[in-house]
Subunit: 204 residues, 2 copies
Amino acid sequence: MTTKLKPAHLRKRTSIGSRRNPEAEAAVLAAARELISEKGYAGFSVDEVARRAGAGKTTIYRWYPTKADLFIAIYTTERSTFVPVPDTGNLVEELVQYTTSLWRFWASHPAGAALRGLIAEAQGTADALSALRDRFLPDRTADVRRMLTHAVARGELRPEEVDDKVALWVGFSWFKLLIGELHQEDTIHSVMMQIAGISSHPQP
Amino acid sequence: MTTKLKPAHLRKRTSIGSRRNPEAEAAVLAAARELISEKGYAGFSVDEVARRAGAGKTTIYRWYPTKADLFIAIYTTERSTFVPVPDTGNLVEELVQYTTSLWRFWASHPAGAALRGLIAEAQGTADALSALRDRFLPDRTADVRRMLTHAVARGELRPEEVDDKVALWVGFSWFKLLIGELHQEDTIHSVMMQIAGISSHPQP
């Protein structure tokens, strides 16, 4: 490219950047974040992200081939602000604190809408399904898996129970996200007790 | 309407029916079922349902104002072929049998794709969210709620645990549906034991 040899008025107006650079990427992500939080999944389009970011659609597609990739990028950027729960040695307490913080994070950040969008996209295309299951999920369940693994080390759970409990925890949290009931925090404590395996039913 | 007074070749070709009649409704549902199972959520449109059923789009919208309504209708029609699990008096056994049958039903009937579509739509519009949560969910969790309520009557669970366990069960089953893991039936038994509250961790 030798645009610098041409006088300014003869240069083509270039898009925000075809090479991946932090400023352009930040502008695209900011526009995507704003759009998902304003219009939700149904009103989200790459066209509109491009318009708001002043970026070329082709550029965005080169960086984020699918909507699912954009949703994961929004989530991941915001997720770094989420402070993990300290290791207290009490599984139920850790799960309750973590789940409460996470639900509030989902409810108050575009990340929540982005995750809803990612799950919805995954019902439409195989690429999005694989991004959700194979790329997003393992990272995003690592915290809960660690809490459960510590409980195994303390002799409170058996190692083979960990996968089931991770699935129960994700399933329950997604369910509340997907039906719009993240405000029902009063259900968290008793459900975490059940997931932890603290039996509350009458002894025979 | 006095079309019978005109000779056949002068009559306008009418759509499949603007009044709700069983044949027309069956044709629309058959087309919708075929389309969701062939193209999935991403390829589903009312335009294409109308084309395949030879029905007017306006008629379909009058009967089913949203895609969510169509998905619920597909699910409900097929659901009537699903035989409930007999009451054996063993909660884990009942939950395992029921969940296994349901996952196979989802995997092998358009109802599964319709439910994925309904959940995805609910991430986009408030109407679909309300249809999913307030109209679809209560009916579709009645069987599991009944199994749990019978266990309460047998003194195996406390009444206040039922809602939590229903949420855990729905969450887990939706999770496996939404990430495309309905074939992993080997996870059902141990998870149902955890939901039933049969503790398998070492006694202190």
